[in-house]
């Protein structure tokens, strides 16, 4: 009964309510997408393991570490496995085809990353081919690479054109794993460097370290850094999570701006809904006066107004949430290398609903006060 009244009230002015709902749909859609962008930004942190450490040069990432460190790291108690690699940063055809590409020590690296699932036969052929590389499912699909294809990357940090042969395509264990990476044999890089630029051989960009137990991470990190203190290349070791977070904190300004904007969207829509509610109540002051005459109290009137606001915002919210999924999918398909992992999380949906409730609540306050405060005689007299 009460719901029927609310719906009837809400859709008394179809055009206005329709426009308001459209506005809310757009706002909730935008809010949801921006939240997803922010969580996509943090995807690398979410997927990182607490049982893996990254060791790099303490000065900054552009400085390498000697290859000889690997044996010393391996001897530290609590270390399960050591792998190493370099950020290759090559370009495939043109710059906009960006994907992360690394030179890694293949066997040890894949041991540390059980979340990259590579079929047994492909792993074998990758390990058997010095020029081989493994690519994520998403980029292989994007560029149409098939196993056995030759792919050429243009080196930026390591000059020249580099040929690689696709030997394997990995899948992520679940949706949160980045399937856009490209990695090849570190030995291939190192031997080429030794031939062309002897001074740049045997230099490692980072060490990946697996620890026997996540609780040991802090201990092992400080033990590693202690080992190389006062050497020519001091190290900085942190968990993979902290390492990835460090990258994000460099761009924290942008993340902050996006979060701020998602709040601004909600504020704008609040103004629109409040406007609608103000008009509705202005038109119906006479009705409220009649209700008061019949003996309904301020509570009932407040309930009517807030209920109406809720009907409007929740309808818009439901539509917006339904649209978020297809739009997010379209977004990833059109910009695959912008965000490797782009999933709408359930917490986003909860926030959507919370935002809708908040908007309804705030939008109803002023009109309710006006409606309750009006004297019956004035209300009946007034033509709005």
């Amino acid at each position: 009964m009460i719901l029927r009244i609310l719906f009837r009230n809400a859709f008394r002015n179809r055009l206005r309510t329709g426009l308001t709902i459209l506005g809310i749909t757009v706002a909730i859609l935008a809010f949801g997408l921006l939240r997803t962008v922010v969580s996509a930004w943090y995807a690398g942190v979410e997927a990182a393991s607490a049982a893996r450490l990254v060791t790099r040069n303490a000065v900054s990432l552009v400085f390498p570490l000697p290859l000889s460190y690997k044996e010393k790291i391996r001897q530290i108690p609590g270390v399960r496995g050591v792998s190493w690699g370099n950020w290759f940063g090559g370009i495939y055809i043109e710059e906009k085809n960006f994907f992360p590409n690394f030179a890694v020590d293949a066997r040890t690296y894949l041991d540390l990353y059980p979340e990259f699932i590579l079929p047994e036969d492909q792993l074998k052929s990758f390990l058997g081919d010095r020029k081989g590389f493994v690519a994520g499912r998403k980029i292989a699909a994007q560029f149409g690479w098939k196993p056995g294809d030759t792919v050429t990357l243009r080196g930026v940090i390591y000059p020249g054109n580099w040929d690689f042969v696709l030997r394997g395509i990995y899948r992520g264990r679940d949706k949160t794993i980045d399937e856009t990476q490209f990695f090849f044999h570190w030995d291939y890089l190192n031997e080429t460097m030794r031939r062309k630029f002897p001074g740049r051989a045997d230099q490692v960009g980072f060490y990946m370290i697996g620890v026997t137990h996540p609780d040991l991470a802090a201990e092992v990190s400080s033990a590693i850094d202690e080992t190389f203190r006062n050497s020519l290349a001091e190290t900085l070791t942190e968990t993979e999570k902290a390492f990835n977070l460090g990258f994000i904190s460099m761009t924290s300004t942008i993340v902050m701006a996006i979060q701020l904007v998602s709040i601004v969207i909600i504020v704008i829509i609040m103004a629109v809904v409040a406007n609608t509610m103000a008009m509705t109540t202005r038109e119906r002051i006479g009705d409220y006066a009649i209700l008061k005459t019949l003996g309904f109290g301020g509570r009932h009137i407040a309930a009517l107004i807030f209920g109406e606001a809720l009907v409007i915002t929740l309808t818009g919210c439901a539509l917006g949430m339904a649209l978020t999924y297809p739009v997010a999918r379209a977004f990833t398909e059109s910009l695959p290398n912008f965000f490797p992992v782009f999933n709408v999380s359930s917490s986003t949906l909860v926030l959507d609903v919370a935002a809708a409730l908040l908007v309804a609540g705030v939008a109803g306050i002023v009109p309710t006060r006006t409606a309750i405060g009006i004297r019956i005689a004035d209300g009946l007299r007034r033509i709005g």
Binding site: N13, L15, R16, L19, T20, L22, G23, V26, A27, L29, A30, A58, V59, S60, L61, V62, F63, G89, R154, G155, V156, I157, P159, G199, N230, L232, G246, S249, M250, T251, S252, T253, I254, I258, V261, V264, I265, V267, I268, I269, A271, V272, A274, N275, T276, A278, M279, R282, E283, V366, I383, G384
Partner: protein, 388 residues
């Protein structure tokens, strides 16, 4: 015969709450629109001013930025003897071979580390970069471990004040000077002697060679010669061009973000304006009927309502711009994707942006008001007069 302007004004005044809500919604949209444009403008300005048109930057072919580049001593010497290099008043060539490395320093506000450009310079470097002015202390002496820091770094990072020391590369670098390079990218750098840096960081190669042209027109011939020379694996660009290329990805990102946000936001604001105008029409049906009965034409009615919604747009634009103009005091520091180094730039409000934001706001008002205005004009006089 047109409906007087005051009619539109007084209508807005009568429904103050609605007007305020609509205007504030629009103002927010204009604010966001303007700030994003200001940000892109600020970035552009920073990078354009960072370079001088007559300076040439030479880096390794295909490396894209100084951070990735390497120019060995032999190749640098070949560049040094090009005839286009200008000569200074002391008879020396205005050419410097520099080294750029990144070091991680803790940010002042969060303590999180971010990359900062450390530039090894030569005697002539300050002369080649007139944007750089010493504001405290002095230039670092060549051959020592003295360095000077840009204002952007001093403001944004810990431990880079006057007289403090940075330690990396097993040395202590004492800060003896602070320079201000205005809104340029140099403001986010730390400068010291190139030979000291090469020793400390064990970098046997330079990152780039920078020189001033003797004659601006000689650039193309020199570029062709350098890039064709079989001894060299280098490319030459005008310094202005070089710094613009550095920010391409960032500027593109800001553009995409700005465009998508603006589209979404303006939808919301246009809907808000539409709701306001439609209800204004609905509430004033009898008035409109009266006006028509008095002999005002449909044209004038359309105009009166359009003026009203344009006024809403104008107010929204004015309020939004007023608040956006305060953003000029804010500077942003973020990592440039292409160089991996921190870059500080500020919101810059130009007259063009103010005009664009205002037009955008009026456009929103117009789009929101056009349908309701025609609806008002189409009302049948008799029916309209009957309406309560």
């Amino acid at each position: 015969m047109a409906v007087p302007l005051s009619y539109s004004f007084r209508n807005l005044w009568t429904r103050r709450l609605t007007t305020v809500l609509t205007v504030s919604g629009m103002a927010l949209v204009v604010f966001v629109f303007a700030t994003i444009l200001m940000l892109a403008e600020g970035l552009q300005k920073t990078l354009v001013e960072t370079g001088s048109y007559d300076n040439v930057v030479v880096i390794r072919k295909g490396s894209g930025s100084e951070v990735m580049s390497g120019v060995d001593r032999q190749q640098a010497s070949v560049v040094e003897v090009q005839p286009e290099v200008a000569v200074g008043s002391d008879g020396r060539r205005l050419l410097v071979k520099e080294l750029v490395v990144l070091i991680a320093l803790p940010k002042r506000d969060t303590g999180q580390k971010s990359n900062v450009v450390l530039r090894g310079i030569m005697e002539a470097s300050p002369a080649l970069r007139p944007q750089v002015k010493i504001v405290a202390g002095r230039l670092p002496r060549m051959g020592t471990t003295e360095v000077m820091a840009g204002m952007g770094i001093v403001r944004g990072f810990r431990g880079v004040g006057m007289g403090e020391t940075l330690c990396c590369g097993l040395r202590n670098w004492r800060i003896v000077g602070i320079f201000d390079a205005g809104t340029t990218g140099f403001n986010s750098e730390i400068w010291g002697d190139v030979d000291q840096f090469m020793q400390a960081f064990r970098r046997p190669v330079y990152s780039s060679v920078l020189f001033k042209l003797r004659d601006s027109a000689g650039f193309d011939a020199m570029k062709a010669r350098i890039e064709k020379d079989p001894r060299l694996t280098l490319e030459a660009r005008r310094e202005t061009r070089y710094y613009l290329d550095q920010s391409e990805a960032m500027a593109k990102f800001l553009r995409i973000l700005g465009l998508s946000l603006t589209v979404i936001f303006s939808l919301g604001a246009v809907i808000g304006a539409m709701i306001t105008m439609y209800s204004a029409v609905a509430n004033r049906t009898a008035e409109i009927g009266t006006l028509r009965a008095l002999g005002f034409q449909r044209r004038s009615i359309v105009l009166a309502f359009l003026v009203e919604s344009l006024l809403l747009g104008f107010l929204g634009g004015a309020v939004g711009l007023f608040f956006a103009s305060f953003m000029q005091f804010v500077s942003v520091s973020t990592m440039n994707f292409q160089t991996f180094a921190e870059l500080a730039f500020s919101f810059t409000l130009s007259p063009a942006i103010a005009v664009e934001a205002m037009l955008f706001s009026l456009g929103m008002g117009f789009v929101g008001g056009v349908l309701p205005a025609f609806r008002a004009a189409r009302l049948n006089i008799v029916d309209a007069l009957r309406a309560v």
